[in-house]
Symmetry: C2
Subunit: 347 residues, 2 copies
């Protein structure tokens, strides 16, 4: 693996590839108080602050709801090039459901927003078919959606997607908020299937793919990489894993004190989001296998390790905190909870 | 008013302006059964079929939820030209909340999806500020959102928005599903503030506005129209009305048997959506004042009356069914429920 720990000036960054997480956070910070002024209207009691994996609301009747919204990012371009539109439908569902699964939601309602310049029924059907596959895997019901047609907003072969999920938990005792996590517990990483749906803008920059030139883009995506044992397009056409069944299987045998979804912000900025006050997590490098796509990106783009960490999942798609010794295929003991103030420390 | 009742071949149509509602419906029809296969996962009992103004779910504890998602359509271009981004934030909230209000939901949770090519904190803040204003008017709490940054998907000055609302009603007896509507009841129309957020693609076509040429677009939008008493840009920069308070005020004095939001599909395709089996609604032309913008569009675009009806609200933004004689400013007795099979009949 190349470039680990070094931060060469010429290395590619996510911000350089056009995605500025800080600018987004700035906008949110500036609006936080105004948004809070609406919280009296919820019709229930918020269980966590805005900014968790999902927003949790306890209804007066005791039922708990978990709300999440997400998109697929520029992974969408994979479908534009390949025509495999089911892919991003599954990804959309997975991005939303894995965020809600963190808190223990295993049923609920999904809605989608599909925005196109030109309505193409075959394509729309394929996207929704993918979402439905995701809904089956997460056991959420598709409750509706909006198909927007915005002439001139998108190129004919392009579109955007948003997904909304509401988890429904009849009994608050089944809610997993991570309060029982204590220093000494283990952090287990569950293998990802590759990039999932994060960091694609940096991926495209790394391989110098110019989507304004479809021939060039197609050629570069269809190039075979010995490191991957397949083409780049094949590599990135793997859907995001929906972790519901995997988590239920673990839950049958082990105590799960908390979970985290490795989503936007990568392995550097997600594992700590579920930790209670007074805890950090130490993640041991080399304690899990890095899939070859990540090593390839890092090497080709001369990407600093810190940039890899905050952009990609690096092979770990979901995290489980447990006091138990978990021994299962595809589950790696990647670290341990330590005393601290909510940090991810790579050791 | 020009062109009423005639269907000249050269008249502009919504489909000709790039929006094909039929193609969208075709995609949905082809996926309906597959979608239904996920409904066993809802974690509650569906009260209506997919395709209502909102999807209604009764939880085991008795609380009822109403789900809706929507966008702003090409009204977004108004904000791109004027820089008044609060506008479309309010519109987004209004589009979502008016759909949920139909069933009597007056509190709940809102989430948003903002998709940009480049994250611009000032612009994002303005959009969210508009949503927050809408949340206050509808008394929904802002529970979270996603700010997507998709380099190359949107021009720098453009973006797309999706909103998602979940109404929360602790007592099913307050749910208004329209079952008590019977022939003989009156249909009352509540005045819109103009186009609201529907039919903008046809509006742009009518005025020959070419957004690829910002100078031309700016010039045409800033033209003053004596019929409007203002510029076209001023006319279309009026936010969609949020009807919550208006409906609560009516509800204090009158019996409300059902409601309908005049959204995509216009006055021809929305009033009947809340009617129980065996009912149609006869709407009497000329029974309410048509705001000048609609007459202007019809005249300039030589738009057939049937096309006007299925594209625009034509001055009626929301409909209330009641057995009472309602006499309030801005509320018009526009028709009556008759025996029939769910049609809107213009008389």
């Amino acid at each position: 693996m190349a470039g680990g720990g070094t931060e060469p000036k010429e290395g590619l960054t996510y911000e350089g590839a056009g995605v500025s997480i800080e600018a987004g956070e700035e906008a949110v910070d500036r609006i936080r108080e105004d948004a809070a002024s609406t919280h009296k209207y919820f019709g229930g009691k918020p269980i966590n602050a805005i900014g968790g994996f999902a927003f949790i609301l306890e209804l007066p009747c005791g039922t708990v709801l978990g709300f999440s919204t997400d998109g697929v990012g520029t992974k969408l371009r994979t479908a534009f090039i390949s025509g495999y539109h089911e892919l991003v439908g599954i990804d959309l569902a997975a991005m939303v459901f894995n965020d809600i699964l963190v808190y223990g939601f295993i049923h609920g309602v999904f809605l989608d927003y599909i925005s196109q310049g030109v309505q193409k029924p075959d394509r729309t059907k394929a996207i929704i078919s993918g979402m439905i596959r995701g809904c089956h895997m997460a056991q959420f019901g598709l409750g509706g959606g909006e198909m927007a047609e915005l002439p001139g907003f998108y190129k004919e072969e392009e579109y955007d997607l948003a997904g909304f999920g509401v988890g429904i938990l009849p009994d608050r005792r089944h809610l997993i908020m991570g309060e029982s996590i204590v220093p000494g517990m283990y952090a287990y990483g569950i293998a990802s299937s590759g990039l999932h749906s994060n960091g694609f803008s940096l991926l495209w920059a790394t391989f110098g793919i110019d989507f304004k030139d479809p021939d060039q883009a197609g050629e570069r995506l269809n190039a075979h990489y010995p490191e991957l044992g397949r083409t780049l397009l094949e590599e990135v056409s793997v859907p995001t894993i929906l972790y519901r069944q995997g988590i239920l299987d673990l839950n049958d045998k082990y105590e799960i004190a908390g979970m985290a979804n490795v989503t936007g912000g990568g392995l550097a900025r997600n594992p700590q989001r579920i930790l209670p006050p007074g805890c950090s997590v130490a993640i041991k490098r080399g304690s899990w296998p890095i899939p070859p796509i990540f090593s390839l990106i890092q090497k080709r783009g001369n990407v600093a390790q810190s940039e890899m960490d905050k952009t990609f999942n690096n092979g770990i798609g979901f995290i489980v905190y447990s006091p138990n010794e978990i021994r299962e295929e595809g589950v790696y003991k990647i670290g341990q909870v330590v005393e601290g103030s909510g940090e991810v420390i790579f050791i």
